[in-house]
């Protein structure tokens, strides 16, 4: 009995230490998060089954200088609900003119903001509904898919053709 308790206590201690050291690593360097929903399909979640949602690795070093480029997939806090985090692709950076296909309008991205959109055609919660968002809301850049194993691989940068007039 005593031996079993000792084993349990030492295991709990190890878990605690691992958790403690894990927090700064996930905050500052990289973490793994699941992607929910269809808005980034086919890049993430090409299947509709929520049991097989993609897990992606999010890199945080880019937050030191906020050096994002067009085509990066980023995780950011929703500007309408701070408890919600969204994964979208950056289309335009400060100073760019971005065309919105549905309203035939051209929008200038203000200083310190970016234009984000989902890869899917279906309307999603992105800059098409709430406009450009401050870069300060970004909490990381998605670099690769880590789960499921058959979909493992890097996430590539891509910018849709003819949507953008860079500054």
């Amino acid at each position: 009995m005593a031996a079993a308790r000792e084993v349990l206590v030492s295991a709990a201690k190890k878990f605690f230490v691992l958790g403690l050291i894990g927090v700064p690593i996930t905050d500052r360097f990289a973490s793994v998060v699941p992607v929910r929903g269809r808005s980034m399909s086919p890049t993430f979640n090409p299947e509709t089954n929520p049991l097989f949602d993609d897990r992606v690795m999010v890199e945080k070093l880019c937050l030191r200088r906020y050096n994002f480029s067009r085509g990066d997939v980023v995780v950011f806090r929703s500007p309408v609900d701070h408890k919600e985090k969204l994964v979208k692709r950056i289309i335009g950076l400060p100073g760019d003119w971005v065309g919105t296909p549905h309203t035939y309008d051209v929008v200038k991205v203000p200083e310190g903001h970016c234009w984000v959109e989902g890869d899917n055609e279906i309307p999603s919660m992105d800059s098409r509904s709430f406009g450009p968002i401050p870069l300060g809301l970004a909490s990381g850049r998605v670099v690769r898919i880590v789960w499921p194993p058959q979909r493992m691989g890097e996430v590539e940068q891509k910018v849709p053709e003819g949507r953008l007039c860079p500054s």
Binding site: I21, Y66, S78, H82, H113, I133, P134, G136, L137
Partner: protein, 166 residues
């Protein structure tokens, strides 16, 4: 025989190194967790919060709990990642939460003209106490709640002004 004792020695040295490194890592992690999730210090400079905070720079304590728990209310001094430059962090006072109507002077130095706006969902309206020299929501509009980094609650330096911030 000699090799065995050498391996043994090496093993114990390695174990000790790992134990020490783990203690150092735990210590650093605790510092990070305290700094990021509970309380940190920061130096606030500039004219925008006069007369509450000094022009030449005050050291204030920032707590990171109430914005996560949704306990912020109008009147709190918050530090916010600037929407116009994500590398900069600014200290301002919350004037209105989402759904509030805020009235402000458009050109305080020249005229009495004012404007009333509705703060959109998920946003807060922040303003400096010094209406004449502050780049705030009057200039860039309401800011998303997600940009708030913490609430300034205690001034620790200069020591003669030590005390809670209202």
């Amino acid at each position: 025989m000699k090799l065995l004792s050498y391996i043994k020695q090496w093993k114990s040295a390695a174990r000790e190194t790992i134990a020490r490194a783990s203690i150092a890592a735990q210590f650093l992690s605790l510092i990070h967790i305290t700094d990021a999730y509970i309380c940190s210090t920061t130096l606030v400079q500039g004219p925008s919060m006069l007369p509450t905070l000094n022009y030449s720079g005050d050291v204030v304590l920032i707590e990171h709990l109430s914005h996560r728990l949704g306990k912020l209310e109008p009147g709190d001094i918050v530090v916010v990642r600037s929407p116009v430059d994500p590398k900069k962090i600014v200290a301002k006072r919350i004037v209105g939460m989402e759904g509030d109507r805020v009235t402000y002077l458009t050109e305080p130095s020249y005229s009495e003209s004012s404007r009333t706006v509705l703060v959109p969902k998920g946003h807060v309206w922040i303003q400096g106490d010094n209406v004449y020299a502050s780049a705030d929501s009057r200039y860039f509009g309401a800011v998303p709640y997600g940009l708030i980094q913490g609430r300034a609650f205690l001034r620790v330096w200069p020591i003669r002004d030590f005390g809670f911030l209202g």
